[in-house]
């Protein structure tokens, strides 16, 4: 068998050609715009329905807006792209596919629940490293109202949320990954395995996803021979306050050091006074936090190297209703400024 020069260890691939985040755009809804990171996002919507009839249409429009403005930021046209890799939370990923029909770029739909965006970004890196493309568009969107309907209850139903409950982020993000420009570069991607530690509580996704994040971080460090201290910031996507707590416990139990570098996108996208359970979730959560918060830090040189880990709960309403546990996944990408 030929030696695979771009593989590292068990689950990691290396991008020696240094694919970069060439241009990007982030949009968030009003609640996220009231959070502590409002200034990190390029656009804050005043109306999360965007004058559309249904929240599904609003989610789709949000994604189309993010794509259009990301391309404009890089002075690119759809014709300049070789692939469009995207996914979202809705059944049959309709937000992505419906947005893809208007741009005429070869489309690869992906689904990894809330980890979708990093899966797309990792695949973009692979396509670029392999010489299959020069520019790949990656994007995702999620919307509180569409996710509530699909996974939970009618919006106006009498439900008392618990402290571990997470709130789907309304937002969209798009980026073009290419070898051009001077944006932060992707150096490694660690694709996660599906992990299921038997958690069944759908109102505590954070605790269900923490083992997947733990496994991927552990494997990433093992494959690359790095420590947590080699990163200035380790950003998990949407474990929320409860999931982050569990991840820290798991890492502490195996004597990892450098836990002060751990941050979570979901736990900090809303402020405490907004009283939103354990924090944000949804495909847009890690996407806007990476392309907003993290990218700004890398670009301004406040940090030099970061690891992003996006976690996804791979359940469906059917599996949950039938009493199955929640399989989860986590993908990691390391970025350098």
């Amino acid at each position: 068998m030929a030696r695979l020069e771009n593989r590292l260890g068990k689950q990691t691939v290396t991008f020696t050609s240094r694919p970069r985040i060439h241009c990007s755009y982030t949009i968030v809804g009003p609640s996220e715009g009231n959070g502590p990171h409002a200034l990190e996002f390029q656009e804050i919507l005043q109306d999360d329905m965007l004058h559309q009839k249904t929240p599904e249409q609003a989610e789709r429009l949000m994604l189309e807006m993010a794509i259009e403005k990301a391309l404009a930021a890089g002075q690119l046209k759809a014709d300049d792209l070789h692939f469009f890799v995207a996914g979202d939370l809705l059944n049959q990923i309709i937000t992505s596919t419906f947005a893809a029909r208007s741009c005429g770029v070869p489309f690869l739909g992906v689904y990894g629940a809330c980890s979708t965006f990093l899966e797309a970004m990792g695949l973009a890196g692979v396509l670029l490293q392999g010489g299959f493309a020069t520019r790949v568009l990656v994007a995702t969107a999620s919307h509180y109202q569409t996710a509530e309907r699909q996974f939970r209850y009618p919006l106006e139903l009498n439900v008392q949320h618990t402290e571990t409950n997470q709130h789907t982020v309304t937002g969209a993000a798009a980026a073009v990954i290419s070898h051009e420009g001077d944006g932060p570069s992707l150096t490694h991607a660690t694709f996660g395995t599906v992990v299921d530690w038997g958690m069944k509580n759908v109102f505590d996704m954070g605790s269900a996803m923490a083992p997947a994040a733990f496994n991927t971080i552990k494997q990433h460090l093992e494959d690359t021979g790095r420590n947590l201290e080699d990163y200035d910031l380790i950003l998990t996507g949407d474990l929320g306050r409860q999931g982050s707590k569990m991840l820290r416990i798991l890492l502490q139990k195996e004597n990892y050091t450098g836990l002060d570098r751990l941050e979570d996108g979901g736990a900090q996208i809303y402020s405490h006074r907004q009283k939103i359970g354990a924090g944000g979730s949804g495909t847009a959560c890690v996407a806007v936090m990476t392309l907003g918060y993290l990218l700004n830090k890398l670009k301004t040189g406040r940090i030099r190297r970061a690891l992003v880990i996006a976690t996804g709960a791979l359940l469906s309403t059917v599996s949950a209703a039938q009493g199955e546990s929640i399989p989860c996944i986590a993908h990691a990408i390391s970025l350098e400024g």
Binding site: K53, L155, N158, D196, M199
Partner: protein, 146 residues
Amino acid sequence: MQPEEYQQLVLHNSPRRPLVKNAIMAFLTGGLFCLLGQVFLDIATIIERTEMEAAAVTLAAMILVGTILTGLGVYDEIAEIGGAGAAVPITGFANTVTSAAMEFRREGFLTGMGSKIFIIAGPVIVYGILSGFIVALTKALLTGLL
């Protein structure tokens, strides 16, 4: 780490549900709805001829209250504070029906609202009828009517 071990770990590290606070808030919220119902009943007793009629009017009024509060987007806020106090009274039942109707209206009147309006309230109706039947049957057997 074994999955069982992790599940225990999560159990020990999960925030405790504020049971006492929840119970007090549910008591107060549910109590307020009952108070409102009593006011309606008192008024209805003056207007209507029989107690049965007064009770029916009160039920209808409470359902209307639940429906309007849901339509205004207030009921879920009340439930966030009041929990079971908002879910258990008949206003809660009105809320389950109205919220489903509002949610699925976008998929049309027939396939959306029509077919999904009882998606949350359905079990209450099914098991309500079933338990009513069992109670009636038990009573009939005990009193020797059968």
